[in-house]
Amino acid sequence: MTTNIPSTIELFKADSFVAPEAPAARLVLSNDTDPREHSLEGIAVVELQFPKFNDGRAFSQAFLLRRRLGFAGHIRATGDVLIDQLLQMQRSGFTQAVLRADQDTDHGRRLLGLYDDFYQGDAVDTKPHFASAD
């Protein structure tokens, strides 16, 4: 199991992405699955799916994995993954995004730097702005 959670989401393209991990180290969860019902023993990557980019169930699944269960491996977004949702994914605990083939990866990277900070805590930076401000 990876122990260092990268702070910036890694970007891949669906048409050229080859999963590096052994299949046995990967857990693929469908959107209607509760991550708490699966063993994460020996799992390096949990793959969560976006059947449509505006289906938000995987954001809650990622939160539960990262925060509630303390999963320290990769959480990978697959399916209809677009650059305009990367920031949200990163904040929800995703560390890898396999972008839809037509997406502009470089622009996606720039979009990750749009905001200085956010109001609410998230899966990575758990404190809300009001609790971290002076």
Binding site: D34, S60, L114, Y119, F130, A133
Partner: protein
Amino acid sequence: MYQYSDFDRQFVRQRAAQFRDQLERHLAGSLPDEDFKPLRLQNGWYIQRFAPMLRVAVPYGEISTAQLRMLAHIAREYDHKEDNDVSKANAGLAKVATLPDRNAHFTTRHNVQYNWIPLTRAADVMDLLASVNMHGIQTSGNCIRNISTDALAGIAVDEVADPRPFAEIMRQWSTLHHEFAFLPRKFKVAITGATEDRVASPWYDVGLRLVRNVDGELGMQVRVGGGMGRTPIIGTVIREFLPWQHLLNYLEAVIRVYNRYGRRDNSFKARIKILVKAEGQRFIDAVEAEFIEILEKDGAPHTITQAELDRVSAFFVQPDLRCDRKSADEKIAHVLKAAAEDDIEFGRWLQRNVKPHKNPDLRAVTLSFKRPGQSPGDATAEQLERAAELVDRFSAGEARITHEQNLLLPWVRCDHLPELWREARRLGLARPNIGLLTDMIVCPGGDFCDLANARSLPIAQALLERFNDLDEVYDLGDIDLNMSGCINSCGHHHAGHIGILGVDKDGQEWYQVTLGGSDGTRISGPATPGKVIGPSFAADEMVDVVEAILDTYRTERQSGETFIATVRRIGIEPFKAAANAVRTHTARPAAVSA
């Protein structure tokens, strides 16, 4: 009112920059319609019948004069019919030439809408709004929408506690929430701190009422799963008392359960009300279990501290205003005496448009935007600017947009009432009809809205003209007449004492009428949807139908009985019979005897 910090200001500017980038990619062709749509919606940009519609957020309805003036500027400089190619649009039955532009519209959830700003100018408008700390964040889309509250929040005489600090805390928490931006459907939260529910909280996805427990501690009653639309449902109380410190933790639990289990296969069944109804106690149990995990396993990082509540509350201090009440009474009496010689308008205005205030030296005054010749809740650029002058002179620079689509001045000294009345009357904004028949709630309907089945504005206009006699409207007393152009219910027709719903049959406009609905205010009684009084009516029958209903009330009412009380006492049948009797096009052919 809440003062934006550097953080808040920077955030809104960065949001405007993000939208500009998305819009530029869309206009350049690299962000297709389908992918852009949810992004523009979450910034308040719809595509309507003729042009885009922008919905600007006015969190909990509070607005400054700098903001009102910016809204006026945008109306004047950007809300231009001629900048859109209306010839290519599906006009439906709308008469394009008569539709207003250079205009802003107040909505039932105290936001502001424009109907004619071309998408190519959208990013410029967002920059202008950001310059006065305004935006369109989450005014549409399947996310947590703008939080609404009572226009009398913080000044009402019947208040347990001021809901605005909690509304602001929820605004911050819900803004660009990473996990909850793509819920199954839209999600609306309302909060009231008063004993009278003036926010229609039972009709919301989450309706919160500030209450005190037996130990005098402050908390909220939490209702979940209310909503209008094609399945009107009154929300279920799932918590009688939630300590205020846990407001965000509990909301997180409710919305996480909804995000995971709400239906996504059918948008008509995707609101949380359907989940609550289908699952009942299991939904409540799931929320409570999630709440406990947030507390015990996540460490509840969003627990609101006393320091945070104090920090936010400090922005909502009452302006230090006083007046000599004795001299105010004398002034008012003087005007009343003088006015009695020609008309009784000032007295009526005091009765209908002026509300008591926590500070006995002050009053809350509503400017009426319900008058013949303009659509309910519409304000021209000029009217917004003139209203802003009144707000500066008479209300410490702060106004509130109301659920009933008017503008309320929350800080009026009682010795200023005669002067304010004269000035407001000069602007045509002193119509003393607040809470009366002509203070109707109306959505933009089929004239503008692509979703609408029928127009609401021509019906509203016909009613405003027919019921232009104030004596008659006074005699009819308190009546909520609410009208929606389609079942999406933006005009809250389900909650109207008289509800009018536009429906479409064979490309023609028809109107279904309901009676006995309630938003949950004291006069209206417990929140409930109205009952349909038979088949739909044709557009040109509608004024006669409303008149027939009101005639029935005049005949049947007992002394001092309101319209809604009469409907409750005698049932809808007598009203239905009267309405059926004035049918022309929709009359059934006389039965042929065998």
